[in-house]
Symmetry: T
């Protein structure tokens, strides 16, 4: 059943659709694990990092929606169902149970760094096939790089 015709030729649509579907999984997974840390974090920096994680969640949710609707707009059906995320999500994730605040900060640096690396590759891949989708990936990268910096600046021992 082909419903929404693409405004791109088929090969371009396929490359772009793959980039968007991969980004969708990364963002939905990121929104879930940032919430997981938001709920389970403990330690003296609890409140500050607890609030900061919700900014990651807000970014991830908002861009997941935009990315999925962008795929649909190109005639590619996005897939964000639980089993799809569980199968395809590969970014560093938290363990079960309470999480120490310094571990959460370090985890977020690593997770965001991995997500950014994958986005940089997708920006290169979509440059010719669809500059419109590329522009969306660029603005998402700017946002995640900003959040990575903030966690990295925090990932720092107390004065000894």
């Amino acid at each position: 059943m082909t419903v929404v015709k693409s405004t791109l030729p088929d090969p371009d649509r396929d490359i772009t659709g793959e980039a968007l579907q991969g980004t969708l999984v990364d963002l939905l997974g990121l929104s879930l694990i940032a919430k997981q840390a938001h709920w389970n974090i403990v330690g003296p920096r609890f409140r500050s990092v607890h609030l900061q994680l919700d900014e990651v969640v807000d970014t991830a949710r908002a861009y997941a929606d935009t990315v999925a609707e962008r795929a649909a707009a190109l005639g590619v059906t996005p897939d964000g169902r639980p089993e799809t995320i569980a199968a395809a999500f590969t970014l560093p994730s938290p363990k079960d149970g309470w999480l120490r605040d310094s571990d959460v900060v370090r985890l977020m640096v690593e997770t965001l760094e991995a997500a950014i690396g994958r986005l940089r590759a997708r920006i290169a891949a979509t440059d010719r096939p669809d500059p419109v989708s590329q522009d969306l990936l660029i603005s998402l990268t700017a946002e995640l790089e900003k959040q990575r910096w903030m966690f990295a600046a925090e990932d720092w021992p107390n004065e000894s």
Copy 2:
């Protein structure tokens, strides 16, 4: 590592914690599949149901947060990671690809109905162990029953 002491005796905490963890999985799964339908729906009622599904998403996300923080407040660590949801989520879900609007409406009636049945049982189970958590489950049930009614009222063929 026991971090946050519970304000409930252990057996009450265990019953309540189980009810909350089960609800958390249902709500996170619901938020993902309602978004999936929001993106993939097609048919003459697209716009109306597309908007309606985001109200389900908003409800599911807001209550998931409250339910998870309620668990943490009782000293029980909530688990909302992708693999946990994929493993534990059992409500009726959409198939891959475009979804006809009337199928989405029918699916939402079934999914919400299943979720409500499970909540009714948890309301009964938590009545004595923790009336505070029970009150939260009651208000969530009221909200989901309202949304189920709206989809059910829509699940109706055109005049012939």
Copy 3:
């Protein structure tokens, strides 16, 4: 024509539906007579009571909507048509024409007191059949008892 299936077994649905329909009539009638007093009140306290009555109207209208939609959500069709209200509404009501402010205050104490008495009975009746509807009746009672107190505190002669 049975359209919206109930999430309650039939006997529980019938008890709860009766409690909600009775409350709906009380609230719609209350909204009408509080407006009647809002328009026809005279006396030195006109402005203060005129404004206070609109708070009763706002409460009555908002809860009437919630109560009616709760009935529908349980598969019970609410009835708020003019002839139904006129036939079923039994709370103390104002006479025709201008109304002295002190009479309005006393009337509102009596009307709200009667409404509260009926709600207390419905809270008891719905306790087992549907704690979700009961919770709605409890919060409505809290609101009406607050408004009753305010009129009662005002129902007081000038210093002699």
Copy 4:
């Protein structure tokens, strides 16, 4: 007990008062039956018409308040009590129970059309006695004619 002196001579006040009281009953009745339909509507257009009906309710309530206060301002006591509405309201009304969406749309076209016909006559009747009240009736008619058009534009079978 004559309390608020009129700024109009008696015959003008009587004509205008009658026009306003008749309009008040139409508007309060309209607000009740539009809510009745808002709660009991079923069919594939449920959500769209459910929301549209609340715009009718908002209009009817806001103008009922203005019309009743206009009567009081002219020294004429408005009467909007349940028994008065039930006795005097004559516009087409819904039956008890669930209401099919297409029937609701057709009913609203008829009800609004009847209300508009009565308002057109009152605009003519108040032209000389009180242009201030006439101006209010004119702006109400503009609003109801707009809402009638919207229901009429919707009252249309699916493509065959």
Copy 5:
């Protein structure tokens, strides 16, 4: 120096200009004396009437601006300077010093009644020359008649 050309023929412009200038003086004077009462009122109803008077001030100021700009739009220069108001303002006014609340209420009934009488005459006078200005005078009259009613409804002795 004729600067802004009128869109009305000269005789119509003169009649309309006179109606607007008279209204401007009434409104500016009304705004000043309502503020005077707002500041000097004493008595048990101080707070309620103090607030109510600011609604008169807001109405008077907003309409004074609209009326003056309407005159300018017709090529007639409005005059609202202190000496003009003092010379031309003839509505009932408060005495110097503290003002008892019941006296203020009665004064406002009289002042508004006098203003309304003059407006009714101007509505008749502008009917043919300029229905656009007439429409403005009609809406102002509706507003002042509403405020007159509120003070009249309050002008009422305590129960004996």
Copy 6:
């Protein structure tokens, strides 16, 4: 295909429909040429007039919508397509290219004056057939006469 029945008898509907359609073309044309001047204006008063022109655009767009929906509400289909506007729009318009600020001010005085003259005639024409539409034309005229005054007050050489 006659779809929306009129609430007016046919001759009244025709007169009123013609007045509304003519007004619609004037307003849509006005919104386009005011934007044209907003973009192309140069001169020391650029910023002030640039902002002022957007108030003309806002007025013209808002009333165009109201006027067109009023026509539809009377069963008359409004026509605001590009070719219709180009064919029927006759108000004074700007030339191509940059526009000196003083020329823009003078043009707006002329364009608004022409539009007002046509509206005054339509107010007279609709007085009997439809006082509801007339009331809309009256309030539009008030708004355009205010804007004309502001441009006229500005159309004035510097001191020499």
Copy 7:
């Protein structure tokens, strides 16, 4: 009739009361003449100065209210009636009819300068009797000096 007891000894109250009453008249007069200029101004700077004058009006009205209530709070009845303003207001004022923009700017510089001179004297006079009222006069002076600067900066011929 002494109603509100002063918190100041009588001589301090008299000095302060006189300073406040004088300021009240200046501010009410200023609000009236700034509106007069707002309505009657013509010239190429119409729109800019028209808007700027309303900032003077807003300041004058807001401080008039604060100053009058400050007097009442000290047991001194403020007097802002039309005849009082006309008799006591001595600041430079506009002539009747249209006002050229450059003349308005120059007038506002002069009027504000005169008002500021009188305020500076009152700041000195109230320093010992009532530092609370003095603080109010200081903040009013800051505001009027800012507005005087803005008109003075504008009072400047075009380049020749």
Copy 8:
């Protein structure tokens, strides 16, 4: 002097009144000591805990108001005067002078834990006498348990 009649029978009113009065004292005391800590806290976590304490204050003040008005609504006069609080408040409190941030966090865990224990008992006590007041105590407990968790999650030494 019995002024406001209770809607509860006397024994139920007494039990409920006692629960509400005890809660009122706890909340007013809590609002005062949380402010005390808000002002006197020092240490590297100053800003984070300073802000967090104001959320405790907001909760305590809002619920104190609701609880006291609930008592009045039941005909029981609440007592929140300084001497009553000082005499009846028994929750753990801060010492005089500067307070180290880690001590504040630990104190808030203890104070909130003590308050919650008392609330749990009152929830049990009011279950039968007044489910309406019980519902209020339940929602307050949910809120305080959430805040206790946040302080407990923070009460954690730095990494060594």
Copy 9:
């Protein structure tokens, strides 16, 4: 008369200016025909599509303004006058009179598809001459492709 110097070399300015002028005509024409459909649409989906069309209008108007100001910023005078639009607008357009809802949906798919095709070409053309203008065309394309998808998803027969 060359007024605003370009920041681009002449050949780049010409290519970019042509792309912007073409886009301006498309957007102004689109805003007019989407409004035309907004007013004349009939059928059971009236309300949903009527609202959706106003989102097209909002997008078209906002981008038309940005695009025209971008042209002016590059020293190219934009032309959006009625006759220019009528002459240059070539996208699929509605016929006169009432429009069936399903026809409107199909028309919008076609019109947006045509507009997008032209934008894709302009994105390619401006890549080298002006990446700043290209970025604007990219974000406009993203928005129009999203709206095209929504209409396409709706363009779907009822279940048979």
Copy 10:
């Protein structure tokens, strides 16, 4: 433990700190007794005074916070604990139980008058040591004198 160094020399800091601590106790006590009256007031003026008392509470709470933080900013630890208030608060206070409205009004006049007298002394005392703190006390006095006037204006028997 001296933590926050003062920007004032020690003697000035001591005088200022004492003035601020005394003010803090007055304001916290005032906030508690105004709330006490807010809850327990009865009589025909209940609603008006009930609302007015919350303005006293808002003022007292906002200034208490500012005053306490001002003390901390000067290196002086503020003390607002329950036992400190109970021991040091000496302003006139309400009795236990229901309070007649006229008694509340008279009590507030006396309490505010006493508070103002103490503030006037502190304004004098801090003039030289710290004009910054003095400025805060001056603005607080202005606010309390305004509220005292409003209660005094209300403290007035009905007409006999």
Copy 11:
């Protein structure tokens, strides 16, 4: 001390970091000189240009923050200290003292033109090394080119 690791390879990071640091200095300098002109401007266009300059300041401050945080996000420390700006800022700047309005307009055209020229070079330089930073420079250029146009359109003698 290398703290925040870059997501770019070193040579790309260096090129991009240089472009961002240069832009930061230009924006901070621009924000300071636009404020300087905002304060010192005189002439008949004072108010209009005074307001317009604050839009330049807002743009410059907002982008300076984004640009500096973008540098930090890439592991490059931004430098915006006073001595750095003074040493590195080279755009055309105002002289000391009062500034004639026409001179300010001309200065802003030149300053913005110089800033844009430097940005165009940085857009070219960052195209390959970091399309994410390039996208930020592109959107800044669009904004500054719009503001340059507005000043250029104003830079125009009066009619002679």
Copy 12:
């Protein structure tokens, strides 16, 4: 070129102008170095201090504007150009590169303390020449002393 006449005699204007110009440089410098720290801070307290520094920036920018416009209002041209700030700013400043959070906190205590010392001297100097400017310096000092306290309270080692 003397443009704006002063409302102060020359010697008073000179003293006040010097105090304001010195304050302007301190505030602009403070805004720049607080932003520098906002961007370059690292360490576990990154997020908390990063946010806190923006409150310093907001205060500094808002008061810089008020202080500079106050100078202009007194006929003294303020100077806030980059080279002036660089030459005249003498408060303690951060080094280049990343900044440890505890160093930033200590630096802000020192910088604010130095700024406050200079402000205290200016408060004394302007007492007689211009109490209006003095009042502005007093309120600025209150704000900076509050921010100094907050950093000082944070400047505290972890528990050992």
